[in-house]
Amino acid sequence: MLASFSWLKEYIGTSLSAEDVAARLTAQGFEVKELHRHRAPIAGLVVGEILAAARHPDADRLQVCQVKTATETLAIVCGAANARAGLKVCVATVGTVLGPDFAIKKSRIRGVESHGMLCSRAELGLEKESAGIWELPADAGLDDPIPKFVGPEEHVFDIELTSNRSDCLSILGLAQELAVALREHLAQKKHRKFPEKKGALSVSVQAREKTPRYTARLVTGVTVAPSPGWMQDRLALHGLRPINNVVDITNYVLLEYGQPLHAFDYRTLAGQKVVARDARAGEAFDCLDGRMLELTPDDLVIADDQGPVALAGVMGGRRTGVSEATREVLIESACFEPVTVRRTGRRHKIATDSSARFEKGVAWDRVEDALHYCVDLLCEHAGGQAASAVMDVNTGRPKETLVVFRYAQVKAKLAVEIAPVEVNKIFNSLGCTVKYHDHEKAQILIPFARRDLKEEWDLLEEVARIHGYDQIPEALPMVSNREDRVAAPDTRAWRESLRGLGYQEVMNVAFADSRVLAALRVDGSGHAAVLNPMSPDYTRLRRDLFAGMLQNVKHNLEHQKGQTLKFWESGRVFAKGAEPERPFLEGRHLGLMATGPVERPNWTTPARAFDFQDLSGDMAAFLAGLGLASAKIEPCDDPALSPLARGQWTCAGLVLGRLGRVRDEDLEALSVRGEEVFFGELDLEQVEAARDRVGRAKRFAAYSSFPTVARDLAFVMARDAEVVAVAEYLRKADPAVVRAEIADLFTGAPVGPERKSVVFSVEFGSPEKTFTREEVDAIEKRLVDTAAKRFNIARR
């Protein structure tokens, strides 16, 4: 919402600077985002008169103007269509500086010398956009200083209104707030109220629910022309483009009172009547913006005998709009039901200054005021005469809102002491009326403009706001929870372990990119889909973290090939549910993806590419950190992973997740070339369930004080033999074994291509004594023999 300081000052006398006023407005909840300062740059600007304007010999759109100033006649090339002989203009002579990089120089434009520039108001910072050069009044003297035509410096507050304060979508509303903020008197502006004339207009309301109040009056004898300069300036400062006096006046009243008005050309209204009614299904409406709309019965229209002439509260129609030929105008000032206007605006994708105000509701009692003000301005500035009776069709004055306010709430909720008499003053200053009060409570009558004040706590906020938030003390309360069972699981510890393992956290959007899913040939039928996506690429929610993380790898490898990438992500994943009572499922996954050299190559360590064992080792370490050292990998046939290396994590009878190599065809599909990429994903809910099953409580286990003996046991076995099972067996087969690990593994010479050689490192020990060599020999032999028999393998 834009509001100029000068307009506000018509209601409030203040000597404060614009900056101070901005600070006060902000402190009262009307945040001034920007304070615009509009003024003309002065030095070098002079009045000129165009003596002649001829087409530029080499450019259709340019004119070469002979411009007479008080001292000389200049040839100036100008591109504005409105440059014409006889026009008084503002000339920036050579040497004028209009901005940091905008100095006027003598120049040659398409071969013609130009000695200055004819300025538009936008170029002078007087408005945002200009249609052409600034046309000075015809009686401007060549000696007149330019500031004479600019007016004084203008400050415009750009205020961010909260959505509850639609009453302040008006100068009047803001002025009232400012008056309260500055503890100043709010001046009452008087406009003439012309006596009613004979002659009722044909105004009727069929859709009564949607049209609580419809007022109208006829103004005759109007001459449509440009509105006065000061009005044009003011509209431009507030972001509205001046059009003609009639339209400008309706906009001016809208800005000042917050009441949207509409002016119909009375003679073009078929049957000289207006009816507020529901649109008919499929009814066409020729909109002022040039569009042809197809209406629905939910839309409210103003119609004449021929059809709709306005989409009520949103936009007028072309057929009955004000034109230069208009002589009689019917001014509408109404109150339309907010939800209707809101729905219509959304349905037809039209947002106007008018609909913005109706959507939030206009004040019942300001409707007629605005009508009178508009008629007054039309009589003053468009040569009109107030004709007809003042038509007022309404459903009756709405019930007034009365709120009971308990004074004790001020101390209890705001922790400040304010005497009841001061509280009452605050309410009065806001336009409320204290109908009744005793020492405990008051009954407050809410003005129609303040639709946001409905309950005691709404009034409490007004007291806090006006008293000042900075006046409320600071205190720290006792913070406690009756129970902690709703606490979220703590993820900090395991996030730290991933950091220790060298993984970098990434974050991807919750949507699965349709283009990537298509490239990866993922079936999207099980994905939860969005009914109203913003783009065709983001229509489904991700089911897993794979595609997003692969995109991250691709992005980084495009920037630097061959670099090490180790990423992790944890986040929600979604799917369609099978049961009707749970149509959508939401889970939490952890993903790891890595590629590239394991470490930066060093002169003592050769470079080695990250491989499956690195990933499985990292994931095993991660799970061990969560108390799941017993988690195992089983081969699996997950089609999303490469058949060369894929498995799933299991623990305590639960499947925790998967891990493997990314398929070559997927890398190719995303143009990730020359790299092996590995991916692992855990379902964190399954991980938590496994932790529950395994048991989270730890128990100390005593260990032996006698030294252990380590031996290497080498076996030869078939190439596809399950080495892990052998290690597992060695670990458990004899109580003397305290540790058994796979220490070496190879295929090929000297055991041959069909077999593999495996060395297990086995540690023997006892809680009671140190084993002698002979004892270890005996245990080892027993172990080797039984293992050889059981797995059909041979000692090497």
Partner: protein, 333 residues
Amino acid sequence: MSDPNTDELREQIQAEIPAAPDGKALEELRIRFLGKKGVLADLVSRIAQVPPEERKAFGKTANDLKALAGELLDARAGQLEAQRRAEALSTSKVDVRLPGRRHTLGTAHPITQVRDEILSAFNRMGFLTVDGPEIETDYYNFEALNIPPEHPARDGQDSFYLAPGTLLRTQTSTVQIRVMEQVKPPLAIVSAGRVFRRDTLDATHAFMFHQIEGLLVAEQVSFAHLKGILLKVGRDLFGAGAALRFAPDFFPFTEPSCQLCVNFPLADGRSRWLEVLGAGLVNPVVLKGVGIDPEKYSGLAFGMGVERIAMCRWGIQDIRLFTENDKRFLDQF
């Protein structure tokens, strides 16, 4: 009295041991002189052949020779070790300035870091961290928060719908309702999570971002408590000397409502007030809706955007960087 054998032996010991060229030769000499089957053991074994009156002297001589050999062996070993260390200094000295073998620690995403920091600040005061779903119903996302259908506050929160009445949450305030339905006051919770709005992606808008939400419901909670808590956290996050101010604001589920602004310096020497947080006393309508008596209990609630705070903190100009996941970005945090 001297025995030509023992004299010769003494000479050998005195000459050969100090001349041993290296540890291996020295070890050989030790075995030769002091070994179980060494020269001196052999000498001692011959004591039986010595006439009884000479045995005492013979024994002393043999023991002296043993002691001498032992001393010389130790001395020479010491010399050789000192020599080896001296040589190593010139041949094996490590250039300590060379970089070590790199093990790189991972990184936490900047959003996670800011989120953790904010949650910790509230946790220290006694707020419990809780969680809630991202797929929500219209009831939890809007209605229970005093935002009925057609309420203008819905305009700023254009939602992604999965089905009529089911949407991706537009605010983490949903968690407030879910917690108040489950546990009775006093309660003090904070929750961090993702929210979704149909905003067109640009440098300062994303259709997915993170919020942190907090709620305290107890007896006699006042606006002064809201100020106390938020100013403490504000100083935790932005420094003890941070310029902070409250201004009125509007949220359907709090009344009175406020925003907390922080004064951030700009590059050109000026500064700008930036809203970092919205808050207020819980609207009694919301409390009634979850069966909490607003005459007995009152509440305060607050919410903030994590991206916005991270952007201010680190001077990040473009919100899209957070989900681009460029390593050059991630490496900086």
